[in-house]
Symmetry: C2
Subunit: 379 residues, 2 copies
């Protein structure tokens, strides 16, 4: 299977009381411990973070968006630059999505045919066509370690019939994505869609796993579902995915969602939450989100989190952060991003440790009851 | 003299054919090689740069603005934080200005009396009074290594009579600044004003040097003067300043101005030019300013400057920078700032080397003829 050699996945620990597991994902640009959280570098940059600062947060693997990069600067420019790793100065593993999600959520005038999707660019209104073949061609040009099959992500409000059609289309597009994939140093993942319909999810899982991808994603669970719906979908799909392949839930999520999904056997996560929140002055701590513009921090001369260890917490106080945020200084977003990304990396590190020590259930129970993550300090 | 022990200035080289000189300025937070360029950290942050990135550019000493910090977050908060160094996480030397310049250029409804200036805050319109005593009290609270006497910077359009009045007022305020200064770990500099009137500049120099400050600034030369006027003023004042004390020309400047002023015996510079230009996509190179949004760079897969050695040039291409600037990504301003600040530090480093090697004239002549600094590569 083309691309299978680009990926080696070794499970190192499996939890007795849940589906949680630890593993090592070996990819062309490095090894990644799973479960892993990937910061999002939509336009070829994790917003506000230099690659060296990003590595400093503990990040090992990042995500970039095919749709955005294909529009600007264009896949040809990135290919001529020597690929996305060199273009953006990130030497670790990268995953690119297929562009499908953005086509259905950001672009306008989508026209879906059997061949693919025509849409207007959200930047300049240019009419663009994306198909499985074109998505894979672009992702081959970008050169990420993991690339995704082109899928249709039906909207939350779609009828059952529309979701069923999208599942069937996604299955055919998955076959065409596989056929179009032309590099054996990139691992191509299949995507299971099916909305909130358990039977369609099962059908999609059966269709997609039959194609024998080296890894699988559960798509469409971060789009408008409640946490309960998200959990049900993942609980339905995951047992149908091969145990020895990495599983990725796209666009998730909140810390509590990540803990739940890890318990359901998910290995890869990505979300804009830590970076977006940082730019909006919301910083993650074990005591919940701090709103750093709050006047209460004007004279709070302690770090955002005392034992965090990130660059921001080692060097600056809440009072300084509040000053930067209220004065709208760029350094606010920079320091906030470093802290929030470090928080997510620490969460995943603690999760991996808990699984390895057979204490995952204890950890998960400590999370129940809201957004206080005091449990983190006990692991 | 209170504060004199905070500063030790040793001249190490003096140019035979000009007034250029090299020295070492020992301050409570470290030693600084002169001539030195200080990046501007107006609100307690050099915009877009973390302190570790800032140190990485070669910066040894920075400037912060008393006016801005006194308004937000307030000197009391910075004092309670343990001073400006700890507040902003910069462990090297800092210089604060007196606030006078901003009071006359940013604030509205200035009312100048013998005691000081009343003005409305440019942030919320609050009525504020600043006097020599209050300026020094604030600067003592901030705790910079070098602080400035409170001065009146008459506008470029002021009548001779108005400039003469401001010179007299500035002399009295300098005495009061000295008397108010309460910390012996901060060096207080006097400021010579006098607009474009040579005789008033001479009178001011005589008045201010009579007060025996450990260092002197030439004020009001970056405000609307032509380069020729700027040079004439500095050429008039500098010979009247004691040779063994550091000289600072505030708010200067362009690279060509810096080279000229170094030739006139100036030791300290500060300017927002490299950081502001960086945020506006103008990057300094030996071939002049590059406008990084220019389409010409879309496929230019070389660093901003091949042999620059800054973090940006070591890791990224012009094509990537252009992508970041056109997409208005925060990383654009971050990487541009690192490059431009490094350019200025390299310029000063080359200047110091040229002086030490007796090649300053040769270097200065190489600069004549515009904004191409190709001469830099020959030193």
């Amino acid at each position: 299977m083309l691309g299978a050699t680009a990926l080696e996945f070794t499970l190192t620990h499996e939890d007795a009381g849940s589906s949680a597991r630890c593993g090592v994902l070996n990819l062309p640009h490095g090894a990644v411990e799973t479960p892993v959280f990937m910061p999002v570098g939509t336009q070829g940059t994790v917003k506000a973070a230099t690659p060296r600062d990003l590595a400093d947060t503990g990040a090992t693997m990042i995500l970039a968006n095919t749709y955005h990069l294909a529009l600007r600067p264009g896949a040809d420019i990135i290919e001529d630059a020597g690929g996305l790793h060199r273009f953006m100065g990130w030497s670790g593993p990268i995953l690119t999505d297929s562009g499908g999600f953005q086509v259905f959520s950001l672009a306008s005038l989508n026209k879906i045919t059997a061949d693919g999707v025509s849409f207007r660019s959200h930047i300049d209104g240019e009419m663009i066509h994306l198909s499985p073949e074109r998505s894979i061609e672009i992702q081959n040009a970008l050169g990420a370690d993991v690339i995704m099959a082109f899928d249709e992500c039906a909207p939350h409000t779609a009828s059952r019939k529309a979701v069923e059609d999208s599942v069937e289309r996604t299955a055919r597009w998955a076959e065409r994505s596989l056929a179009a994939h032309g590099r054996d140093d990139q691992a191509l993942f299949g995507i299971v869609q099916g909305g909130l319909h358990d039977d369609l999810r099962r059908r999609a899982a059966s269709q997609i796993t039959a194609l024998d991808f080296p890894g699988y994603a559960v798509g469409g669970v971060s789009v408008g579902e409640t946490p309960e719906e998200m959990r049900r979908v993942v609980a339905t799909v995951n047992p149908l995915l091969p145990r020895d392949r990495p599983r990725y839930v796209m666009g998730v999520g909140r810390p509590s969602d990540i803990v739940d999904m890890v318990g359901a056997g998910v290995d890869l996560f990505d979300c804009v939450l830590p970076t977006r929140h940082a730019r909006n002055a919301s910083l993650f701590t074990r005591d919940g989100l701090l709103s750093m513009r709050n006047k209460a921090y004007a004279r709070d001369f302690v770090p955002v989190e005392a034992d965090c260890g990130c660059y921001t917490c080692r060097n600056f106080t809440r009072a300084y952060l509040r000053h930067l945020y209220t004065r709208e200084e760029m350094l606010a977003g920079i320091l906030g991003t470093l802290h929030n990304l470090t928080f997510f990396q620490r969460l995943l590190e603690v999760l991996r440790r808990a699984i390895r020590k057979g204490r995952f259930q204890e950890f998960r129970e400590g999370f129940v009851g809201g957004d206080s993550f005091e449990i983190l300090s006990r692991f």
